[in-house]
Symmetry: C2
Subunit: 428 residues, 2 copies
């Protein structure tokens, strides 16, 4: 008879309560599957008196998560507080320093301090598991680290921020402008306290940096992620994309090029009939491509009590079973310091310009593109009533820097009536 696995849970928000519920409700099932009893010993949250809809009376209460992490009667420290500095970081370090494994849903913490924490964990013979930090209930970390361990990964892509996908889907379905849908999402409580984390692509960028570390055996490099949010996407972009058979998604892409590791989180056009293009609302999707497996697509809820708690429980069950994969899939000391490469792998681009409606404007634009070596696949000037002409261009495959040079040159011609929008068309 194995010893029970003893948990200390820090953070009793939605996810923490979800984990407590599963451990209580499914005790017999968890023991049958893992061969051990999974028990909560102690919990920590700011307000002990709050009714969280689940019985917590049997557990020791710690006001200080660091004190919880250091308790000698727990085996696993479950960090569900969030935030990449302060209590979450201190408590995680304290847990590792005192010999606990750590299960966390904290993408920001690992995106900023993953390498140092992984090294600390390994020095202590412990692991950090973080399935819940990426793509909610989808077992994507496990698939990448274990199921696809025989693959040289060639590309990882994902729609990993449900709020952004909700906003973009809703703009299209309801024909509403960004600002209205943003406000709607805010009212519905879908946005982070700092909404830039969502719509600026930061939250999704954190997730991408974790996936690319595992995929390419690289040290986490969140600063190497080129971030671009969805704030400038207009209904016109969505409609124009749709008319050409595309959807606009806040898409993360990580791939190795000859010059280094490209990581970008930005609005992209993807084929409307691809799995990514068909994804609606708050659902997440991760696409993994490997030399042997070709392409795997994983889809599921990206947030919420049940799905996120499911991911946390998967990690806990692994630890109960004694499965300890290295934090980023291989020993931290073997992770490479791969240089961040700017997103220059060639792709077609969608470009929306607003031109002064006067003779020769279009010629100046076409010349700027040609001079930069960017060739045009399709171009259309859409109907307009005022003095400004919207122009949509789809380029042939080009490098982003050449396109940027062309856009820069256009600015100098005096025909531009507004800032251009340039979105990569990703092959999926």
């Amino acid at each position: 008879m194995s010893q029970p696995l003893r948990l200390g849970i820090a953070g009793l928000g939605t996810v923490g309560v979800g984990v407590v519920k599963i451990v209580r409700r499914q005790a017999a099932m968890l023991e049958a599957r893992t061969g051990r009893s999974v028990q909560i010993v102690a919990v920590s949250a700011r307000d002990a008196s709050k009714d969280r809809g689940v019985g917590l009376g049997g557990y020791a209460w710690e006001t200080d998560p660091v004190a919880l992490a250091k308790r000698d009667d727990i085996d696993v420290f479950v960090e569900l507080m969030g935030g990449h500095e302060g209590a979450a970081k201190d408590a995680t370090e304290a847990a590792l320093a005192t010999g606990k494994d750590v299960v966390t849903a904290n993408k920001a913490l690992l995106a900023h301090h993953g390498q140092a924490l992984a090294e600390q964990a390994e020095a202590a013979g412990r692991v950090i598991r973080f399935e819940a930090a990426v793509a909610g209930g989808i077992p994507v970390i496990k698939s990448l680290t274990e199921g696809l361990a025989g693959n040289e990964i060639t590309r990882v892509m994902g729609v990993m921020n449900g709020t952004c996908n909700y906003i973009l889907t809703r703009m299209q379905d309801a024909g509403l402008p960004y600002d209205d849908v943003f406000e709607e999402a805010n009212q519905l409580g879908y946005l982070e306290a700092d909404p830039t984390l969502d719509v600026g692509g930061i939250d999704a960028g954190h997730k991408l940096s974790l996936l690319s570390s595992i995929a390419f055996g690289a040290k986490v490099n969140f600063d190497g992620v080129e971030l671009e949010g969805i704030q400038r996407i207009s209904i016109e972009d969505i409609d124009q994309a749709a008319s050409m058979g595309f959807k606009i998604k806040l898409l993360g892409v990580a791939q190795l090029s000859g010059r280094g590791l490209e990581q970008r989180m930005s609005p992209c056009l993807v084929p409307a009939d691809s799995p990514l293009g068909q994804l609606k609302g708050g659902t997440n999707m991760v696409v993994i491509e490997g030399d042997a497996v070709e392409q795997i697509v994983l889809r599921g809820p990206g947030a919420g009590e049940g799905p996120t708690a499911s991911a946390v429980m998967g990690d806990i069950c692994d630890l109960a079973r004694g499965f300890r994969v290295a934090t980023f899939g291989q020993p931290a000391e073997t992770l490479k310091d791969i240089e961040a490469a700017s997103s220059n792998s060639p792709a077609p681009y969608y470009v929306r310009l607003l031109l002064e409606d006067r003779p020769g404007a279009m010629a100046k634009v076409a010349t700027a593109l040609g001079d930069a070596g960017v060739s045009i696949d399709r171009m259309r000037q859409t109907q307009h009533d005022d003095q400004q002409a919207p122009v949509i261009i789809v380029t042939h495959k080009t490098q982003r820097r050449d396109l940027d040079a062309a856009l820069e040159a256009m600015h100098g011609t005096g025909v531009m009536a507004g800032d251009p929008v340039a979105l990569r068309i990703e092959t999926v």
Copy 2:
């Protein structure tokens, strides 16, 4: 420094060669990820002289797979021969009896003998891993057994025979009848030597029985799978389904009902805009629903050298890392003997009838349905030139046995000009 993990590979067909290639090409990567060197010690196949496009000279050769399985210089027996009796079974048993873990792609073997083999493995302190047996490169066994271990699974569904999905997709896209596309698939080498394994749903049924064992903690019960093939699906069915917003898929569904475990592998209508409905060609898809995670959808190639070898390698890497999950996710002795329930959970049905074109025929059909308690949602008689009238009916939710009673009664009325087709409309 850990000891190398030593493999003996029986079967050097497409998948076996794929595994050899990965082990040779990715030696450094595999060692970085698992912390051990993964080495092939010995192989077995009928013809040692055949050129398989990969170097095999460094490995011991065994003509007899049982002799390979018994070698004391291997840790893992990799069974890639196929077949549920004979050499594959003998060799697997011999491997377990002599203390090896087993990795296999053999769905038939486990569908027929999974319980006995799992018990034998556990008695010997070994495990059988079979990621490659279900849905090719998709890490579905791992997701279900480990990633979703905190979930009470409520339903598992899947399109798990690429050949059937190819045939159905091709019929729709090219407007070709079943027989023509079947012949085409045959020419392309997509069909098993006994094509009934594919088009009769047997191969996919094997896979479903393995998934439902893990999902519901039940002993594998392939005999409990209600099997229905795609041989009777006509273009008209596909077109009628499409006109109502559905696609026809050979869909496996496993779920617990009050009366036991329902397992069915049969052609079903699914919404055209659902992930299952959008699946084309040889790609596989598995949908897993759990009480916490809600719904996860996994999609990927269901067959082929690379994808299947990827799945085998995932299992091998787990063993190299020392991860040994019980064969069906929990100890074999704890697996329940859940009674097979016939597929009576209520659902709407699509029914195509061919009636004698004479007055009162439709009334007799409607009466038979009404008498059996089956109510009609939609009904249409399609255009026809001859003496027989095709009628399409969509029922409200009904139990299959009530529908069958109605169809039985219709037969007695003398108005039926052919056998009816009745397909479940699955909510996805």
